[in-house]
């Protein structure tokens, strides 16, 4: 009675499609920015509004640019990971405070702790556009030459940190 096998066969074909579809994990597709120089900008600094920051200041260092906002819930999720990373002193972490209010942002850092060496203020999100920010949080790993080496969309989890970012940092520092 082969006809009773039909539903199963159709289902297997469907699952095959799905598996192929998910294998092409959109997260794995390298962002067009990876391997390209980090877009330049000049922005005021959160704690010292009169001073300005340009990514060029970080030349010669491997560093992390983390896009965050006080209104972003997922940022809270990844915050402990960043605090921990900052404590270990592996590399400087810089914040890009995205479409936020200065007071809210400062209050947020006070409440949850500040892992950032400094945070640049991108109040209207213009720089976010240059960096292709889809949503917050996003994180960029930038090497000594100012080239983006890795882009994380969504929160950094301990697994992503240990398995992807830290090995990459080690190889970049060599």
């Amino acid at each position: 009675m082969k006809r009773f096998l039909w539903p199963l066969a159709i289902f297997i074909i469907l699952v095959g499609f799905l598996v192929v579809g998910l294998k092409l994990d959109p997260r794995e597709v390298p962002s067009p920015l990876v391997g390209k120089p980090a877009p330049a900008f000049e922005l005021p600094i959160l704690h010292q509004p009169d001073k300005r920051f340009v990514p060029g200041d970080m030349r010669g260092k491997v560093w992390l640019l983390n896009v965050w906002a006080s209104w972003c819930v997922s940022c809270r999720e990844e915050h402990p990971v960043l605090l921990d990373l900052a404590k270990r002193g592996v590399m400087p972490i810089l914040g890009l405070n995205y479409k936020d209010k200065r007071d809210d942002a400062n209050a947020w850092l006070k409440q949850f702790g500040n892992p950032y060496e400094l945070s640049a203020v991108d109040a209207d999100g213009r720089i976010g556009i240059d960096y292709g920010v889809y949503g917050v949080p996003e994180t960029y790993l930038i090497d000594a030459e100012g080239v983006i080496r890795y882009k994380q969309i969504g929160p950094i989890t301990p697994a992503v940190l240990e398995q992807k970012i830290l090995p990459l940092v080690m190889s970049l520092k060599k």
């Binding site: 209207d124 292709g132 949503g135």
Partner: protein, 148 residues
């Protein structure tokens, strides 16, 4: 036997309906860059997505027709729409519009969709922006190793 014939006929009819409907009703998506490159059709409804350029929203004298510019940061296209905009439509935010390209070069939208959530853009809008970002990145930065 008859049941099988009937079943096969039904499936054939259904398949024909589906194909026919797909042909006529599937709406393709184009980014402003693709439209600038003349990839978008002139006589067919399609969707365009990107970000509403800040300061570009204008209302015509009738109070109902609005004009705004949708950009993927590389290229942009003016959009004209008559009617009430969705609640979450804002300048500087993601948007998707469905409509046709007019002879005036503007996109005449019959429907405007905005994002539903604070953190994420409509996927189509995000897609358009990410496609344009490589191009943009190359332009806005000093070449690597340029001043060391």
């Amino acid at each position: 036997m008859l049941a099988i014939v009937a079943g096969v006929t039904l499936i054939a009819v259904a398949a024909a309906l589906v194909l026919n409907a797909f042909q006529g009703n599937v709406v393709f998506f184009f980014s402003p860059s693709q439209i600038a490159a003349k990839e978008a059709p002139l006589d067919r409804t399609f969707r365009v997505g990107g970000m509403v350029e800040s300061g570009s929203l204008k209302r015509r004298a009738d109070g109902l027709t609005v004009e705004f510019i949708v950009t993927d940061t590389a290229k942009s296209i003016p959009v004209v729409y008559t009617g009430i905009l969705p609640d979450l439509f804002k300048e500087g935010k993601g948007v998707v519009a469905q409509g046709k390209l007019g002879p005036d070069g503007a996109f005449h939208a019959s429907e405007v969709l905005a994002k539903h959530d604070e953190n994420y853009m409509p996927p189509e809008a995000a897609h358009a922006l990410s496609k344009a970002e490589a191009d943009k990145a190359a332009k806005s930065v000093v070449p690597p190793g340029g001043n060391r």
